[in-house]
């Protein structure tokens, strides 16, 4: 019952957010064009490198494309659902967060899912198409690989959700959101390419401390049959640990909310 109610609210807020986005057709078209342009230019860049060098860090062209497409899928799905986080600072600074706190539904749910960004949907679809093409080109993909891939993408989204909850908590404590969220975006962008290209200790840090590797590289590796069972267990454990810690941090931040702006 609660899930149904939350889904209904999410749908209503997403429709409203989409109406706002489409109120300026020029801006919407330009943003969409920009996202598409970035996707295509990066893909072109990867193709250029892979064709000239035959392999990047031992990965073939279609393997690198699969890493890139998986990164885009996870990144765009995250942005689609969690766009409200980018608007959170304004609520804290203006005092509107008090109003959210008084509503009869979870302030965390509102701050995370209070209006999805419809402009990310075309990019999600494009990523899915590219993943399908890569799978066909790679030929050796197995059904168990696909199941593990989907499981690890869920883990990636859990880690992404945890990071976004942490960003909200930092926002409450310091009113700093914009740069923190963009820093998260830059860090995850390191996963555009397989994390194997980074040297130690950076490779270790972005796999286990800031688990970009687990988020972006592990799913594609599992699909290609390159991931060990231990890595799989680590991925699931880390994602749930991050989620648990982020909830704790969120609750801690709420106890320190001063409502100073209202």
């Amino acid at each position: 019952m609660i899930v149904k109610r939350y889904l209904k609210i999410w749908l209503l807020l997403t429709i409203k957010a989409s109406q706002i986005a489409f109120s300026s057709r020029l801006g919407t078209s330009l943003f969409l064009f920009g996202k598409l342009l970035r996707f295509l230019l990066f893909l072109g860049f990867i193709l250029l490198i892979a064709v000239k060098t035959k392999a990047i860090a031992g990965y073939s062209l279609w393997q690198v494309v699969l890493f890139f497409a998986t990164f885009n899928l996870i990144d765009n799905v995250t942005q689609f659902f969690l766009r409200e986080v980018y608007r959170f600072r304004a609520y804290v600074v203006s005092g509107d967060f008090d109003y959210i706190l008084t509503k009869p539904w979870s302030p965390l749910a509102k701050s995370l899912f209070g209006g999805s960004d419809i402009l990310d949907l075309p990019m999600v679809l494009l990523s899915v198409v590219l993943i399908f093409i890569s799978i066909i080109k790679l030929e050796y993909i197995t059904p168990s690989g696909i199941i593990l891939y989907l499981l690890l993408i869920i883990c990636s989204e859990i880690i992404a959700l945890s990071f976004h909850i942490a960003v909200l908590a930092i926002g409450i404590l310091t009113t700093e959101v914009d740069n923190t969220i963009m820093l998260y975006r830059d860090l995850t962008s390191m996963g555009r390419f397989p994390v194997d290209i980074y040297r130690e200790p950076i490779s270790w840090i972005i796999t286990f401390v800031i688990p970009v590797g687990i988020m972006m590289t592990y799913p594609a590796k599992a699909l290609m049959g390159l991931l060990s069972q231990t890595s799989l267990i680590i991925a699931v454990s880390i994602s749930f640990t991050f989620l648990f810690l982020s909830f704790k941090f969120w609750r801690f931040s709420l106890t320190h909310y001063t409502s100073a702006s209202s």
Binding site: S24, L30, G34, L37, T53, N179, D186, S189, D196, Y198
Partner: protein, 264 residues
């Protein structure tokens, strides 16, 4: 000129006021740089070549592009659109300052801070990663590279200002800037040297203003261009500077006719 010096100093102080913001911004720049740096390190192991580049030259290019980017792309003109939309630009109009010199001075203050930070960051990169890089010893190439950076700074100032002037006609000034950022990343040579592209594309790009923002100054520094090529490049960059100057003035004049000081 004293008032413009004060504007530079004020912008510097302004940046220091929002220290956390600025430090986070620089951390983001470092992360972006590391992504590209390690990508090229993986693509080009020692004793391999990619077009005219070996590992040493490509890493020098990427480091150079980072430094030149810090000089050229640090700007406050991104605020012009918002200043027009909110009516804040009226404050500048009634002051005894030249509008363009006012914003250029703000740019210089911002650039000084970014240069200082990027020098520290590059030093740290050298100490931690110990990359093998190419040091230019010929003073002529060095001087010509500085000249081309100056032209790049002016070209980017005009491009960014024109985008800000869109605020005279529409509140949607961020979407075109978003596209500019994407274009700059790829066709200015920020993440890869343009001469690895197919020759047909490169021939076309040599007439684009973006080529002269990053790629050209770094190539001049690397000493990979002959003197006639450098002269030709500087001529094209100068031509773009003049064209953008005239176009900026034109857009400014037309824009002021539409300006209604909304929000004031």
């Amino acid at each position: 000129m004293k008032k413009y010096w004060l504007i530079i100093k004020n912008t510097w102080s302004e940046t220091l006021t929002y220290r956390l913001n600025f430090v986070m911004w620089r951390i983001r720049v470092v992360v972006q740089f590391l992504t590209i740096y390690f990508l090229w390190l993986a693509v080009l192991p020692p004793n391999t070549n990619f077009g005219p580049y070996d590992q040493k030259l490509i890493l020098t290019y990427i480091l150079g592009a980072w430094f030149v980017g810090a000089i050229v792309f640090s700007t406050r003109t991104a605020d012009i659109g918002e200043a027009i939309n909110s009516g804040d630009v009226s404050n500048t109009l009634i002051k005894p300052v030249n509008f363009f010199l006012y914003w250029f001075s703000r740019d210089l203050g911002d650039k000084a801070m970014n240069i200082m930070f990027s020098v520290v960051e590059i030093t740290l990169v050298f100490l931690i990663l110990e990359p093998s890089v190419f040091i230019q010893t010929q003073i002529t190439f060095f001087a010509l590279a500085i000249l081309s950076i100056i032209l790049a700074v002016i070209i980017y100032f005009f491009i960014s200002t024109i985008l800000g002037f869109l605020g005279f006609w529409t509140p949607e000034t961020w979407a075109p800037r978003f596209i500019l950022f994407i274009l700059v990343g790829f066709i200015a040579g920020e993440i890869f040297p343009l001469d690895i592209l197919p020759s047909g594309v490169m021939k076309f790009l040599q007439f684009s203003p973006f080529t002269y923002l990053i790629y050209f100054p770094v190539k001049v520094y690397l000493g990979q261009l002959s003197y006639p090529q450098i002269l030709g490049g500087l001529t094209i960059a100068l031509a773009w500077t003049i064209l953008f100057y005239l176009f900026t003035k034109l857009v400014w004049r037309f824009g002021l006719r539409f300006y209604a000081a909304q929000g004031r």
